[in-house]
Amino acid sequence: MTRRGVLAAALAAALATAAAAQGDGRLSGFAFMGPDTQAMQKDDTANPGMLWVAEGEALWSQPAGQSGRSCASCHGEAAQALPGVAARYPAIDDATGEAVTLDGRINLCRQRNQQAPPLALEGRDMLSLSAFVGHRSRGMPIDPPDDPRLAPVRERGEALYRLRQGQLNFSCANCHDDNAGGRLGAAPIPQAHPTGYPIYRLEWQAVGSLQRRLRNCLTGVRAEPFAYGAPELTALEAYLASRARGMELETPAVRP
């Protein structure tokens, strides 16, 4: 084999082992990680994100609020809970006609259905519940709803994705479309597909949401990050989900 042939074969082998190689050039962040981090994600006894999934499973059947009901009272036992639901978010909440993220949807159930106060976004309980609900869609394709009410939200998200921001004046696309596969310092630049959220990030030493990840990228270009739960972040989430349509969910993924 020629040297180039060997390289091509090695690259093909590397891509074939990536969890979410699509054949259309789209790759999950998993494909950009070293073999140690990939092994940590793939082994449930070593993936620390599973600690949050286990906590979320315990919270699932714990009554809360004035209703005295648990998530399980309405949605069934943990083993049957909400398969494929995380793969469809953000989605439109029919009661208000507004787009909501999965975390936002969980808080709507807390408030409307449990008569309980909303959980703090990025707090331990919210991350545990969303890790649990996300894990219930693991292995399923990202499947954003064909809801025309989502179209303007995605458009807004795409506009933000292409908007140059911050003192460094970079758009998301400058890094994740124009330079994906390159490096920013030591870190490989992934394609920004939201395939594994919430993730266990080694840098955080904890589980964090997609919004935390997006806020990190915004601070990275020295822009003022949007607040947790801000409509801008919901719009970005909705655009990223449509861009990753059909890719496999890995929740809880491990990322560097």
């Binding site: 449930d44 006894t45 070593a46 620390p48 599973m50 600690l51 949050w52 286990a54 906590e55 499973e57 315990a58 545990s128 080694l202 030493q205 904890a206």
Partner: protein, 106 residues
Amino acid sequence: MGRALINVPKTARKGEIVEIRALVSHPMETGYRPTGDGRFHPRDIINRFVVTWNGEEIFSADLFPAVSANPYFAFSAIATESGTVAFRWIDDRGGAQVETAQITVT
């Protein structure tokens, strides 16, 4: 609640080498992280982790601030008799926690 994920095989043959794993939920606060007002978050790490098989110690470790949050332990042991594998760890707040698993040796 979700304090640890323990992995011990349910059954083993006598004399078999089994792999035992534990992933423990803990922030492992090093004591070196500044609070922003010139002080530091107080150190709170798991400082000792001990595993016993029917009361007999088969593994122990002293931990230090360089160990990551949510530490992962994996080691092997020879299956001798059926019984209880107990995992016990102590952190700087002095709290001892225990998780157990049963193994049947035939």
